[in-house]
Symmetry: C2
């Protein structure tokens, strides 16, 4: 890639970003769009923007984002979001501090050398442009100037250690503060019990669980809820809810038809056959009312049946105080470790019910099977990606598809295509994977949504680093040096080191594309806006349907964090080789921080709260990126035939040591709740019944309203213990 | 080694064993020796032997050992001893079951083949005798007869899995039964707290600890005891105790002198200078009385000072029930994992006080440093041992020391020397190590004596297997094939496999020596008997001194178990190659079981009780021996050029899987106390004050008797919480 196509790429991206930003400023001011641009504030019962005036500065959001405090983020979007901002600002800090030393020193040192590009270009087979004069590739082998680069690696490493340590401590405090908060949170009073052994006497697990926990916790045990197999009842309940919605919709249509000059109105009709396309035509309101009335008793009898007969080998157990629950989740209860496994209860909204029944050894087996599948996926995805990055250059495309030649001949178009084609192919390709990884993680038997997302995100990170970073870097070189690899497969570090400089401009464009276009689209919310307006106009008839149309998603950590991690890995790995990449990294995380701060405060609504459990994952992965960087640099100094390259050997060891100490000092608190934290006093005496009910799945809870005693009775004949409530 | 020296060695050992056994039968019947042969029963307040008649069958002990139940062992010698017998009988079971199939099948299969000894002996350089005709070395390469040996490996492996699984379950039940027993045991009500952070206000840690735990456990916290730096007070206390003993001794001597015709008696005197050899001559009674009176106030003031000023960063915390203590020991208390570390309290008698103050990361650092030192020791001990096993053959000795030639020329002597010399050298060499390993394990910062012994024992096992087994096996071959090794260092498995058959007779002699001589000495207790009688006659003057002279030690697991493990490893590894070794293994564990059952019931007195925590170590090490065996056999089948050798590949994988499943299912209960076990009801309401006092070190407890309030007062000004007692 030459300089002109590089600059064109940057320029176009920037223009698109500006357009999107102005679009945002214009569209977000319109009152009809507030539900798209401020849904989180609206859901929290706040005014879309403070002051309430309709005409406001279109760039006020920047000021608001900058002046917002961490406490505001926690209040409006939860601890997880605040932790995500700690991540963003930590990486930003690492890059800014690195650039302060690296840019003024390394750029002149590289630019003023005469370079040994010719010897290098034979191996990496990439045309060097003016941009490459600013990189380490321009420094002669064995040159004492390499000392500056070696010390640069040390500087970046120590900055990273320092800021990561500070961040870990800070996140740990955030988590502690959230967990010790005096608000009553149901999950702090409950534990999840799995692998309940089959009792000899029969199916009533409820009594078994109750007597087991009452013996161990005579004073603090409140009640237990045995997990049931809800497959059938869920199906009926969904059907019922569907008919209820359709009924409401039909009534809304009927009411709407009344006003327009027709005081009787037209009763809506529908066909009863497949997808409403065939079958007898019936009056919708009457038909759906019938259906609803039919299903309600069916649901009720199925609910009773489920509660009585379909009890599984898992339960939720409730305690009257937080300390006992926190302590129970960490302790061994049964002599055989694979029975009565007790763990933290997930939040009610994020329990993955179907996973709870999976047994101890089956969980471990599933985990290993999933790991193997993921490892295979990582390896075999590499082949098409390497092929794509090699074939989607224009020259190759023209060779393969000669009919596109006339289109490509136009110079301007050619430059744009050349700049974007490979990256676009890559981005589209990557969008297919996360759902697969989430499904695989769920199949491991993980009990909570957030945990499954963390697991999927971790897999995605390794995937993305191995395939995108290593794949692109090595893929370009593989075509020229395929035979070398075959002969010396253990020289992969050297190969990586030689390939890196040639790909610097590729990755700079990649980063720029990601932040200009990615964050531009993020901020402007063009796609959700269009979808919302289309839905509102043509589909939504009731209030509920309208709310569902604008209801915001969450920040989507599962794919967002691995994406950010890829940028961290790229920028770290190039930080010393081509320091010019650092400003782009700073822009990525700077603009990202700003745009996402706005989105977190105003748009997204978290789907769950894990109290910062994501942090250790991020921490380990930043360290993994640093380690990759250090090892690559060791190889690169070797390629440059620098005699003092071994001076960098302590760095990877130091990184491992740092990781070890951090995980020993901080990690366990992210797995278990420390008792000194859980034992803080509550604001009010907890309403245990309410806590208990918050865990009843919706498909079973309808009965509760109808016939509470029945529910109580069906679940157990054991009288309640005296609770503190 | 030829057949005649092999038989001589066996014969001599057997004769010595018979002599020792008759000696035991004769000596143990003498009333004056009961304290040597029945100290455990005497200490438990029982008659030396049942029935009480003086003349009894000299072989009654065999009947008594055989008819004793596991419950008797637990009552008289504790759970640890019972677990040790589970180990012995499990290994015995493995060997007996293996021999049932292996002996009748493999011996004929091997003996009837013509053998390819000549091709083999060029590599292993050992003279083959008639004995070797019974071994796998006698089977031709590529012969289909090797199938029998391969299936033999499978049989041994599955027998081992089956019996180990049963044993693990049984030991887990033994542990559970002991832990849920209704007797009050102080360690079940206490936890050990380490890494207490420095409080900002000052030195009074007691209040800090009290308030911390009272917040978390408002209902069940009883009291805390801050660990103090007892160095000085211990020194004074020891000095005082020494003088008290000397005073008692002087008084006894004086009393004894009165009776012998001299009604006034002679007052004993001593010199005050160095070791009582120089200095002024003084009246002993007067002198020691003065010294005691001098030291008592000094001790008291030092005790007060210690309790007030020398509080360390560790404490024992007491709870009013077992469940809370068990739960507290497993849970995370502080947000920072390296502060307020809570763990199980050791028994009062086995606390390693000086280790308690060592900090979190320092403990881990110490552990790694110790591991490195041990690894170096293991590697560098190998060199002298290999040298010894090569040089202590008679031929080599004669070459080196020509003057011993006339001695060696006598045929009978030569045979005996040839049989014993290498083994004796080895046994003496090994006796030097355990103390070093125990000291190293203590230096890791382990808080309890039993844990340190387990750690030392684990190290000793690896040492003994690597050095004795691999060292001897490879050492003999190393001299002939040193150059092969240098060129192909990765062929160590093949080398091991080729070396094994040549050493079979060496190890058979080794096993026989160990059980005939070892258990003969063990049973007859010749050495302790002689020492006791010498002490009684010439040294002991008071009752206390006499009791100290016969007071029994414990079973000495630290060295006993690795020794047994070595035999397990040897017998397993040779079980298929030279099945004739199995009967010797059976004899070792059979005689061992019988002799030690006698010793456990009548002689040894356990120094601590860890409720079977030794078992997982033993289990893992038996599995490690099995794994070594399977890998060696794989190599051996390869050496025999057996085409179907890969059929044995699943075995090592199966062993790893079996180990993984066992450790997942059972192991955690050996680390933590399961709450369902701890929550069993007690026989009586625990006397908390007594539990608390049992942990006061003797050097501090003397004051308690003198001035209880002072003690209470010095430790804390916080009033006691209402206890359940």
């Amino acid at each position: 890639m030459d300089l002109s196509s590089f600059l064109t790429s940057l320029g176009t991206s920037f223009v698109i970003f500006l357009v999107l930003m102005f679009l945002f400023a214009w569209l977000s001011g319109k009152p009809g769009n507030t539900v798209v641009y401020y849904p989180n504030r609206i859901l929290k019962g706040l005014e879309p923007w403070e002051g309430g005036s309709k005409t406001r500065n279109p760039f006020a959001w920047i000021k608001e984002a900058l002046s917002s405090t961490e406490q505001e983020v926690i209040t409006l979007s939860g601890v997880d979001t605040a932790v995500y901002f700690v991540f963003l600002s930590t990486v930003l800090g690492i890059l800014v501090l690195s650039s302060l030393i690296l840019l003024p020193i390394l750029l002149p040192v590289a630019a003023t050398d005469s370079g040994d590009i010719k010897t290098n270009s034979t191996t990496s087979n990439v045309t060097f442009s003016d941009l490459d004069k600013l990189s380490m590739g321009n420094v002669k082998g064995k040159s004492p100037r390499l000392w500056a680069f070696l010390l640069g690696v040390y500087w970046v490493s120590f900055v990273t250690y320092f800021l990561l340590w500070k961040a870990y401590r800070h996140v740990s405090d955030l988590r502690a503060k959230a967990l010790m908060s005096p608000d009553v949170k149901p999950q702090q009073f409950a534990v999840l019990v799995r692998d309940i052994p089959t009792a000899p006497e029969g199916p009533n697990r409820k009594e078994q669980v109750d007597s087991y926990f009452r013996t161990i916790y005579p004073d603090t045990f409140y009640k237990s809820m045995v997990v049931t197999d809800n497959k059938v009842v869920n199906k009926i309940w969904k059907e019922l809810e569907g008919f209820k919605k359709k009924l409401a919709r039909a009534e809304a249509v009927y009411a709407a038809s009344k006003t327009t000059g027709n005081p009787e109105g037209t009763k809506p009709t529908n066909k009863t056959g497949f997808l409403g396309l065939c079958g007898a035509k019936v009056d919708s309101i009457q038909y759906y009312t019938e259906k609803v009335n039919e299903l309600i008793p069916k649901l009720e009898s199925e609910q009773k049946l489920t509660l009585r007969e379909k009890q599984l080998n898992a339960a939720l157990v409730f305690f009257t105080n937080r300390t006992t629950a926190a302590s129970a989740a960490q302790t061994l209860h049964a002599q055989m470790v694979d029975t009565w496994t007790v763990m933290d209860a997930p939040e009610p909204r994020q329990v993955l019910w179907p996973n709870l029944k999976i047994k101890f050894f089956q969980r471990q087996l599933r985990q290993y099977v999933v790991y193997i599948i993921v490892a295979l996926t990582i390896v075999f995805y590499m082949i098409p990606i390497a092929a794509i990055s090699a074939f989607t250059t224009l020259d190759n495309l023209v060779k393969l598809l000669p009919f596109i030649k006339p289109v490509v001949k136009q110079s301007a178009l050619k430059t744009v295509l050349e700049a974007y084609l490979p990256q676009l192919a890559l981005i589209i390709f990557l969008a297919l994977l996360p759902k697969l990884l989430y499904a695989l993680s769920k199949a491991e038997g993980i009990p909570s949504h957030s945990h499954a997302i963390r697991a999927a995100s971790g897999k995605y990170f390794y995937f993305i680093v191995f395939n995108v970073f290593l794949g692109i870097t090595l893929g370009a070189t593989l075509f020229s040096t395929f035979k070398t690899i075959e002969k010396h497969p253990n020289e992969i570090v050297t190969l990586l080191a030689t390939s890196l400089p040639g790909n610097a401009s590729y990755f700079i464009t990649f980063v720029a594309l990601k932040f200009f276009i990615g964050y531009g689209l993020e901020l402007s919310r063009i796609v959700p806006l269009i979808i919302f307006h289309l839905k509102r106009k043509y589909i939504c008839k009731t209030e509920g349907e309208l709310k569902a149309a604008w209801f915001p998603s969450d920040l989507g950590y599962g794919t967002r964090i691995p994406g950010d991690m890829l940028i961290v890995t790229i920028v770290l790995c190039y930080s010393v080789i081509a320091p010019i990449i650092i400003p782009f990294g700073v822009l990525y995380f700077g603009i990202g921080w700003l745009v996402l701060r706005n989105q977190a405060l105003k748009v997204y609504c978290p789907a769950y709260e894990s109290y910062g459990r994501f942090w250790p994952h991020m921490h380990v992965r930043i360290l993994a990126a640093l380690l990759l960087y250090q090892v690559t640099m060791l190889g690169f100094f070797g390629v440059k035939k620098f005699y003092y390259a071994p001076v960098a050997i302590p760095l990877p060891i130091l990184s491992l040591l740092f990781g070890y100490i951090c995980s020993n000092k901080f990690y366990r608190f992210f797995q278990d709740t420390a008792l000194e934290v859980a034992s803080h006093e509550l604001k009010e005496i907890p309403n245990m019944e309410q806590i208990y009910r918050s865990y009843i799945p919706p498909s079973l809870s309808s009965e509760k309203v109808l016939d509470d005693d029945q529910f109580e009775d069906a679940k157990s004949n054991v009288s309640r213990t005296a609770s503190f409530a």
